[in-house]
């Protein structure tokens, strides 16, 4: 699925990374706890979260993710946008809640696919 499809399905707006939304993504995960996100790894290219702070961007960067979707109408601040620019991570924002946003993407073929190590 392309990021542009994620954007359309979630009726999201692009906060940053318009030129990168043609990229393909193959799996996703949703959580407000970053340590839980860090526990599962397997090319999870999209992170859906309602948490808004710089550690969300850093977590995505450590995991080699290419897109973050902020749910529940949360909007990242300028510092987060600058960090995302440095890392080339697309930022989307949607009014949908985490459960709904994950469900929409999952039912349209974007799987979880996270494998927990150890």
């Amino acid at each position: 699925m392309k990021i542009t499809t994620v954007k359309e399905l979630l009726e999201a707006k692009v906060v940053w990374g318009e030129e990168l939304i043609g990229k393909h993504v193959y799996s996703a995960c949703g959580s407000d706890m970053m340590s839980d996100v860090l526990a599962y790894v397997k090319d999870q290219s999209v992170l859906l979260t309602g948490l808004v702070n710089s550690q969300v961007i850093r977590t995505a960067e450590m995991m080699d993710m290419v897109c973050i979707v902020f749910v529940r109408s949360k909007v990242p601040n300028q510092e987060m946008i600058e960090l995302a620019k440095e890392s080339g991570i697309v930022l989307l924002a949607t009014d949908k809640r985490l459960y709904d946003a994950c469900g929409i993407l999952y039912s349209n073929g974007l799987c979880g696919n996270g494998v927990r190590r150890g």
């Binding site: 407000d32 706890m33 970053m34 340590s35 839980d36 860090l38 526990a39 790894v41 979260t49 948490l51 702070n53 710089s54 550690q55 969300v56 850093r58 977590t59 960067e61 450590m62 995991m63 080699d64 510092e79 927990r116 190590r117 150890g118």
Partner: protein, 141 residues
Amino acid sequence: MDNNIIRFTYNVDGTDFTSAGQASVMLKKNLRQLGISPDTIRRASIAMYEGEINMVIHADGGVAEIEVSEECITIMLKDSGPGIKDINQAMQEGFSTAPDDVRSLGFGAGMGLPNMKRYSDHMEIESELGVGTTITMKINI
């Protein structure tokens, strides 16, 4: 052979949670420049990042010393914090002594040390109450 070892040292600033992770970002960049495989870089970066977050939450920061040999990446995290009272308990998933405000920032769920162990091939913790903690992680290349 010692001359084949590349070393990096990063100071971890413990005063600001927002900036936590900067050393891990630097490590990731440096490892990329060495041409190490993305999967290995990801494991080292995540282990380092969780360690860095722990140092900021619990120990007011510290120092990260990295050694890269042909065989493995060794990450040594040294702090002069309060020390870990019960290492076995601290290694259990879900056990945390982090304050609530850290949880609201997405950490402090008792996953830090277990995640560090998960992503390293070998991990050792040396800790003394009131003196500090040194964690050594090895990630095979």
